[in-house]
């Protein structure tokens, strides 16, 4: 699936460039999580993806986070938590009706959902190494 990354343009800082590269690599998976699984609309997903990038950039700068690539599983956890909080808010405020599928997903811990997604990430890594 082709997605337009929220991170475009040339970053001066090499670290930021690395982070944006990793983020854009993961963006397809993030988009699937937000739209297909958590049921967000395309516009909502695009907005949350921008927030996620900002968070991920700062997260990678925290003490002890040695490599943006190794931090990808945490990006997926954050994505699921963002999506869960947002969807709960939207449904809770009556803007959108829920469904059994969404309710089931919202009941699960974001870290568990992310773990399932991380398997896809591992597959992504495997394909990358294989290429």
């Amino acid at each position: 699936m082709e997605t337009v990354g929220p991170v475009s343009g040339v970053q001066e800082d090499p670290f930021e460039k690395e982070v944006s590269g990793i983020f854009n690599e993961t963006l397809g998976l993030i988009h699937i999580a937000l739209v297909t699984h958590y049921g967000l609309e395309e516009g909502e997903a695009a907005e949350l993806e921008k927030d996620l990038y900002l968070w991920f950039l700062r997260f990678c700068m925290r003490p002890g986070n040695t490599s943006p690539r190794d931090s990808r599983p945490f990006l997926v956890v954050a994505c699921c938590q963002f999506a869960r909080e947002y969807q709960k808010y939207i449904i809770g405020s009556g803007v959108r009706q829920s469904s059994d599928k969404i309710n089931k997903l919202l009941e699960r811990e974001p870290a568990d959902v992310a773990r399932d997604f991380s398997r896809s990430l591992e597959l992504l890594n495997f394909r990358r190494q294989d290429a």
Partner: protein, 373 residues
């Protein structure tokens, strides 16, 4: 409801204003260089509403441990309180918890540098409460565990340090945090020195001195060199000690008065004293004391009064020694540097009152405090 309005009402969304690391650092510098009482609300708000600037402030505060620990502690505690009482979201996702943990850890470390160990412990607990709720707590909690061990070293619980440090070294190794791993090994080497196990400590310090990670961190390298010099001085190899201090000096002097520069002057004093050059030792101790005073490290200033008093007694300058002791005692009591009823303090005070300073009580008190430095 219009389409846009369905996106915008998410209650935790902050302003999406990004700054480059340079811009954030610049804004952080403006904030910290403005006196606390003269900061406009808009300036404080800019820090609290932009995590990039807040991260810049935290980075600058960490650089102040060695040069201005009192200011670092004051700024970090103020920031922590403001974040806690903000009443609106800070940053994205787990960033509020992260910054609560980070500011509390900075406060704790700065307070440890100042010798305020009880306060430091409370701030470590606050840091843990923040870090526990972040998305990847392992490296943050490992840093916190290091801070706890450093505090145990500071209060003289050396057995605890030696028992717990290997596990932390393993944790840092697994997390790929090489600099922190080196800091742990350095803490272990310092602890061995305190226990008189110099033959075990020296190879560790030599290995650290030659490691790529330590050589890439001028502050850590200067600390390692000073301790290595102290070790060589303690085993009577004064030429080697002097040579190592010479290597440390340019690394340290470039940053002006700092904890490590004061430590170096103190170490040079000890080396002179071991060679019986007492007048030169006294000059070095007083120079170290001036540095500690400029850093508002009252406990170290008080301890150096006692070190100077011992040296003055050896020089036969009893009256000056009494003045030094009298200058030290109020701070020792105010800062609760000894447990209540510690006999040497009473003996020393009484001996000074009688104009005959008791060298044994003086040595006992100095050794007790030095072991907890």
């Amino acid at each position: 409801m219009p389409r846009l309005a369905r996106v915008l009402p998410f209650p935790t969304r902050p302003e999406r204003a990004t700054l480059s690391p340079d811009e954030a650092r610049q804004a952080a510098q403006v904030y910290l260089s403005t006196c606390n009482t003269q900061r406009l609300d808009s300036m404080v708000d800019r820090v609290l509403s932009n995590p990039d600037v807040l991260a810049g402030v935290c980075a600058l505060l960490r650089e102040m441990f060695e040069t201005a620990p009192a200011s670092a502690a004051e700024e970090a505690t103020t920031l922590y309180t403001r974040i806690r009482n903000l009443g609106r979201p800070l940053g994205l996702f787990d960033e509020r918890d992260y910054f609560l943990g980070e500011t509390a850890l900075i406060a704790a470390t700065a307070l440890r540098f100042m010798g305020k160990f009880g306060d430091a412990e409370r701030w470590l607990d606050r840091a843990e409460a923040g870090f526990r709720h972040t998305i990847n707590p392992a490296p943050l909690l490992a840093n916190l565990a290091y801070a706890r061990l450093a505090l145990r070293y500071a209060v003289g619980r050396y057995d605890d340090v030696l028992e717990l440090v290997p596990s932390l070294v393993t944790s840092f190794g697994k997390l790929g945090m090489q600099r922190e791993e080196a800091k742990c090994c350095f803490l272990e080497a310092k602890t061995l020195i305190q226990l008189g196990r110099l033959q075990e400590s020296l190879p560790m310090l030599t290995s650290l001195r030659d490691s790529r990670v330590v050589r890439g961190d001028r502050i850590l390298l200067s600390h390692v060199l000073i301790q290595a010099g102290n070790c060589f001085g303690s085993v009577g190899d004064f030429a080697q000690a002097a040579s190592i201090y010479e290597q440390a000096l340019p690394l340290i002097q470039e940053r002006g008065p700092s904890v490590v520069l004061a430590e170096l002057k103190w170490s040079i004093g000890d080396t002179y004293k071991a060679q019986n050059h007492l007048a030169k030792a006294l000059d070095a101790y007083r120079a170290a004391q001036r540095d500690y005073a400029s850093l508002t490290m009252e406990t170290s200033v008080a301890l150096l009064h006692l070190v100077a008093a011992e040296t003055l007694l050896s020089l036969g300058r009893h009256r000056e020694a009494e003045w030094e002791i009298l200058a030290a005692l109020p701070a020792i009591e105010e800062q609760k540097m000894v447990t209540e009823g510690f006999a040497a303090v009473a003996l020393l005070r009484e001996s000074v009152r009688r104009r005959k300073a008791d060298p044994n009580a003086l040595r006992e008190l100095r050794e007790y405090l030095q072991a907890r430095k």
